[in-house]
Symmetry: C2
């Protein structure tokens, strides 16, 4: 059965290669010639048949998701070898091209594959190949199709020092080879899901009529939390060359690129507010920076935030939008990356699928902060010794153990806690009538804790000035922010979502450094 | 006719306000109460009718694009007043909510609009209002519909110092009030088109199976062009507090956040290559930085690049992809922002529509660099005095006047120039067989010049090492980049597109500082 099929394939393969060459004239051939590449023909044939249609490259995912009609079709697969199993004159090569978690099995043998022995001698884990062949029903389990190769071109061999030879590596080790780790199942899957979430983010906001605003990263006016900001400068790094002020004792920032000290922003919110107060509904999606000296698995020095801002909206509009957003992007990502989610659900966290089902199908809980405090007090009273921070009362900034109990144990689903004490929240959040709370909300999710922080913004000029004074902020530093309250002020509200936390949540990734291509953290700035 | 309509409206309006109040219980009322806002009812009515359906907010664009069936429907419009024309007991208020360039005309009068005089006394340019009323066919020209207001709520008055009182302001003046300028026609339109282009960018690459990779902005290994990079640091800015090395003469960067000098990246390409060599086709879309001391209208210190990178691809694949990309996003933006494009085409540049038609409908030109040189030499020979740089020969780095002649005068469409002399191009570009050129391409477009720069990357380890030596680069700084050539190297190619230049091109914007929300340039870091 197999050998007969191979015979057919051989003939077809020859025709294909010839056809391929015949059709590679014009611009394409020109390109090759100009680019200096020799024509890549894996073998010469003495059998001349009528030219068949040359196979264009088929992505592995396309092949694996095809219906039965693809069986017996000629295909050209290009990708990287994950594994090779040799059986004397027969080899099974798993090839992955990054389009899906699953690779496709290429079957090569002495009888049907040109230059079998010579080619296989050059192919090991990590090599890049281009395999021409015919689709067959797979004899192995787990896959519908495989490719019986008539010819294999070795595009790029792989040096023996390739660090991904073994099948399993610790995520910690993989971080040391971040330039290669996307070639592994886990990191490749996270990268694809992250991309799907990001692309779905833009689709969601486009559908909802939001304008995407790319707010600046370099800022001179971002005073809040300046202690944890990175300074941006073009002043020379040599002490002797640094410009000094008249006293000779301090740096002269008037000589710096922007004529004054500049920093990397910690949030695009204030800038986004200016655009919301012109265009209505806007969002940012870009990097933000925190110079925190924190080596936890939950913090990065450079991370990404999605910050929607909606004019003529209140805190409940924000909760509505945030809930729709999270449900939409998770649904989309699952639809677009089914193989990756199957992997996470079977090999990383068996409870993930059920957790995501709850997320997309059930309404999120909404609970006022005061109620959350009551729930916690009642629970803690049962056995205070179980808690690291048993003292909980109005004014307490909820600790991670409190947040996680609410979302993981009590409600067992995402929870918006809202109307926090004004003392523990930012100056720009809108005072509620009770004089004690502000219109702020955090979305807590199982396994992560806080995923989203949002609020209605203080749109009343005098109240905002008062709150700025209370926070020790100078009006002159925020003149433009205050202008929004002078010229047609409107109720408006928004939220910020930490994108890497969303990626961790959705992919059951424990360390945030694995949720981003090249993580930045104290002492960590490689690649 | 009008007064009869107004009578009907009055009744309907009363019912609506009452219904509105009746339906505002539950979560929504809760939100208002918690957020401390008084119920906003513009007038009390003594006419009690059966509650009608409360009008939800209608966006201006939705209204203007509705079919005739909307006439006589109740609507609630929220937005900012652009202009008010008063005629004794009748006022025409143009309200814009940012959803489109066009505002909608709200008609208020003493007879039909509650508290007419009192309300109108508080409404001027810049004020925020919420108008409840009925849709009518517009009596004026240019618009199909207007809203006859039964009640108008003044959401936020506008201080007399509002700088956008006049109808026309110079773009230069608007840059000084960048926090308000999106409320003007021109900047609002650019912002919407920019957003549409950005969202379409993600849609395009999602459709083509590309993975979005957010490459890091803070980098320690980006050695190319280090002279024009911003330094990123958390070292103290006080001279006395700066940590010093053993000699006491230089800064000790081991004490800095990353333990060594760090910078803001000038390109995500090298990082994107690592992901392309794992996932196949990837792209970045994020900010990049250039600390050039340049005050031109074509440069920004912080701008955005789209950098696709494709494995198993050559220079012609890149041209194909770039051409599809530009056509797709321009087509999408025109479809989604017809009003904005009508504005650019009528008030900014009358030739823009024809130029964009050529762009989306005709194939781009492709011409080798050597041919471009021949064309230029022949043209310059006719009258060298017309040229600032008449000396053109193989090896010349084309000046702006050369590029613009090619795309604007000779081909009159976008042109890919390809296969540039290797001496004037970067180390990572693939050497062609001729020994003189590299597989690089620039896309030149009318009115802008270079929009895209792309190349096939040097995937051969030894050639790459040679080119790095020629460029004075150290192998140890690029060990991870070289690894890609050691472990299953593949032909790959990519390009970089300056997003703000694309925005300028598509919107006929002359100064790049108007193509971004808050521009950063030497001495410019406001807001």
């Amino acid at each position: 059965m197999r050998s007969q099929a191979l015979g057919c394939r051989l003939m077809l393969g020859c025709q294909l290669v010839l056809a391929c060459r015949a059709l590679s004239g014009g611009a394409r051939l020109g390109a090759r010639r100009l680019a200096g590449a020799a024509p890549r023909v894996a073998f010469m044939s003495t059998t001349v048949g009528a030219p068949a249609a040359a196979p264009r490259r088929t992505m592995v995912r396309t092949l694996l998701e095809s219906d039965e009609a693809i069986v017996s079709s000629p295909v050209l697969i290009k990708g990287w070898v994950r594994t090779v199993r040799d059986q004397k004159t027969l080899s099974f090569i798993n090839v992955n091209d990054g389009s899906s978690l699953e690779g496709v099995q290429i079957v090569a043998d002495a009888e049907g594959t040109a230059d079998y022995a010579a080619v296989m001698a050059r192919i090991g884990t990590g090599a890049a190949i281009a395999a021409t062949g015919t689709v067959a029903r797979s004899q192995g389990k787990g896959q519908l199709y495989e490719v019986q190769a008539s010819s294999i071109e070795v595009v790029g061999e792989c040096d023996d020092s390739f660090p991904l030879q073994k099948k399993r590596h610790s995520l910690e080790f993989l971080r040391s080879i971040a330039h290669l780790r996307a070639r592994t199942n886990t990191i490749g899957a996270i990268a694809r899901v992250r991309s799907a979430l990001a692309q779905a983010t833009h689709a969601f906001f486009a559908n909802e009529g939001f304008t995407y605003v790319q707010t600046p990263l370099i800022t001179a006016s971002d005073c809040e939390g300046a202690g944890e900001m990175f300074r941006v400068s073009t002043l020379p790094a040599q002490l002797s060359a640094m410009p000094r002020d008249e006293s000779g004792k301090e740096l002269d920032f008037s000589k710096d690129f922007f004529g004054k000290p500049a920093f990397l922003t910690v949030s695009g919110q204030l800038a986004a507010e200016t655009y919301a107060c012109a265009l209505g509904s806007v969002y940012t999606f870009g990097p933000t920076f925190r110079a925190e000296n924190s080596q936890t698995n939950r913090h990065l020095a450079e991370f990404h935030m999605i910050e929607p801002e909606i004019a003529f909206a209140d805190l409940f509009d924000v909760m509505d939008n945030a809930e729709r957003y999270v449900k939409y992007v998770v649904r989309e990502a699952r639809e677009r990356c089914p193989g990756d989610f199957a992997f996470f659900g079977s090999l990383v966290d068996k409870e993930l699928p059920a957790r995501l089902d709850v997320l997309v199908n059930e309404p999120f809980e909404r609970v006022p902060y005061t109620t959350a405090i009551e729930l916690l007090r009642a629970e803690i009273a049962k056995d205070p010794s179980k808690w690291e921070f048993p003292q909980v009362e109005f004014g307490t900034d909820l600790a991670s153990e409190h947040e996680r109990w609410l979302t993981e144990s009590h409600f067992r689903k995402p929870v918006f806690v809202y109307n926090y004490p004004r003392e523990i929240k930012s100056f720009y959040m809108r005072d509620n009538e009770d004089g004690k709370t502000v219109a702020a909300t955090d979305l807590l999710v199982p396994g992560i804790g806080e995923l989203i922080g949002g609020s209605q913004r203080e749109e009343r000029l005098e109240q905002l000035k008062l709150k700025m004074r209370e926070s020790g902020l100078k009006e002159e530093d925020y003149w433009w922010y205050l202008d929004l309250r002078r010229f047609g002020t409107v109720p408006h509200a928004g939220y910020g979502l930490g994108f890497e936390r969303l990626v961790c949540y959705v992919t059951a990734t424990a360390n945030i450094r694995d949720a981003i291509a090249f993580p930045r953290f104290p002492g960590g700035c490689e690649f």
